[in-house]
Amino acid sequence: MHKNRNLAFHLYMALFLAYLLIPLIIMGGAAFNDSKLPTVYPWKGYTDQWFIDLWNDNRIWIAFRNTILVAVAVAAISVPIGTAAAILINSLGGRIRSALYGIMVAPILAPGAVIGISTLLFWNKFSVPAGLHLSVLGQVSYIAAFVMLLVLARLQSFDHSLEEAALDLGATHSQVMRRIMLPHLYPAIGAGAAIAFFQSIENFNITLFTRGNADTLTVYVFSKVRSGITPTINALALLLILFTLGLAVWYELNRRRKARIEAAREAEGRRAEEAALL
């Protein structure tokens, strides 16, 4: 009976993966179809026209550059803010802690449109015009919360007596920070920076309301889709998917290599143990 049940589950998993992946394959496939509209059916023959068009599209390169600039700025601002907030909240307790925590995670749940509009209106009061700088500030307001959560989780495994020891041995405050606290937090800070970068690239809602006239990739694709699409968008999509896939494969291979080394080490340890016993 368990066997039948497991078979049904495996089948469901396979169907689910097909459901997730087939749309992406169809979208990628349409990049090679020699048809003015992006589709895979009817198939009008192979072409690489759309990749050439993509390469020659100036606006897309500008949008690409903007996206990267915004993402770097968001990561550079969110990481110190998130880290500082995590250290601060970790030293607090009771009511203040939960109140602050609530305010900090609320932007994650707030709709992007609300964040975008409130940022736009606030800076408009000081005559700051809309533009990508406002997109950066709007995005930081919720992305900093992700960094804060990651660093806060990492802080739970931090041994504060290390800092005590350093202070007793005469270390200055900044040395304690630089040599003891930060090195412990580096994995969380690195993960936070990566998440901040990719969240920012993904962002659409906040950027749409704060961008002024500037384009980012998501806004550009959006305007293209609304104003008459050509399969250049499919060519771009395929390149982005392949890039993602490349990252994923690299990550998986890295993981497997690490697991193999780990296993080899364990085996070696066992052999050494056995030898010692003999």
């Binding site: 749309p23 405050h173 809602n205 982005l240």
Partner: protein, 307 residues
């Protein structure tokens, strides 16, 4: 706080507080206060701002009651203002999408947590993560292609003889639902997986040994344990749906408006930022109410949801 001063000194402590205050005050609280304040002010030409015409009123909020349209529920027809209809439509369809994603995700999360061998887990997760990393706009664009009137889905169904004539998929809210489910289903899978995975498998086996049928095990053992996961998954999916602007714009027909689209029209087409602010504030209230209700029903805390 004393601790912080002793460990890191005045300079660093001030820096921590300064950075946090900049974030919470300048980037979060004050912009929202501005949003709230401007939502009560009229939309005026620049010269009149601050003048005698610039008074507080509820006029911006009253605009939701303009332009009535017919709405039929079951066999009855009502006259409902169009923005109210869109507002409640957004709530209704976001809830529907949340329920559908739960039904799709629950068996999968259970499978990942309790059935599949742990060795193949990382690979499966990677396969699930790839679509999540592909941007939201491209994922909805994929369905735009698939659901097109002369697109591959109709061609396939015609060829295998399931339908006789092509179906207009992009009509009403249908295509929006399809797109939202596809885009956000993974935000339900992962919280559910985390919750089910923390259940001791012995509890399931004990229930089996005592003769409980499989559905009762789910009802009495697994579902109650998965409550925090259900809560956080539902909150995530509902928020993302209600706040989504991309999917409804890309996949919605003209008759299927989403509340975020109305906000966008006030902001970017009518350029009436004050009414836009009022509408954005209503969306914020809706989301706050939804989170509080879910937290009350499932008896979970905010720290359980935001992980």
């Amino acid at each position: 706080m004393q601790e912080l001063l002793r460990r890191y000194g005045v300079g660093l402590t001030a820096a921590f507080i300064g950075l946090t205050a900049f974030w919470l005050l300048i980037l979060v609280i004050l912009p929202n206060v501005t949003l709230f304040e401007s939502s009560f002010r009229p939309y005026l030409p620049v010269v009149d701002v601050g003048g005698p015409l610039d008074t507080y009123s509820l006029n911006n909020y009253m605009k939701v009651f303009g332009v009535p349209v017919d709405v039929s529920v079951l066999w009855m027809t009502f006259q409902v203002p169009v923005h109210i209809k869109i507002f409640f439509g957004t709530i209704y369809y976001s809830t529907l999408v949340t329920v559908i994603t739960f039904l799709l995700a629950y068996p999968l999360a259970y499978y990942l947590a309790k059935v599949v061998s742990p060795k193949s887990l990382p690979t499966l997760f990677l396969l699930l993560f790839v679509p999540l990393w592909v941007s939201e706009i491209l994922r909805s664009f994929a369905w735009f292609i698939i659901l097109a009137f002369k697109g591959p889905l109709n061609a396939l169904l015609l060829n295998i003889g399931l339908i006789d004539a092509p179906v207009r998929w992009i009509s009403g809210y249908n295509s929006v639902i399809v797109g939202l489910v596809y885009t956000y289903v993974l935000f339900m899978v992962f919280p559910l997986y985390n919750a089910i995975q923390s259940l001791d498998t012995n509890q399931i086996e004990a229930a089996e040994d005592l003769g409980a049928p499989w559905w009762r095990i789910h009802q009495r053992v697994i579902l109650p344990h998965a409550k925090p996961g259900i809560a956080s998954g539902s909150v995530m999916v509902f928020m993302l749906c209600a706040g989504s602007l991309l999917v409804p714009t890309l996949l919605g027909s003209t008759s299927a408006q989403w509340f975020t689209q109305t906000i966008q029209q006030w902001m970017l087409e009518a350029l009436d930022w004050n009414t836009g602010a009022a509408y954005a504030f209503m969306l914020l209230i809706l989301c706050t109410v939804f989170v509080s209700v879910v937290m009350r029903i499932f008896r979970v805390k905010l720290s359980d949801i935001a992980k």
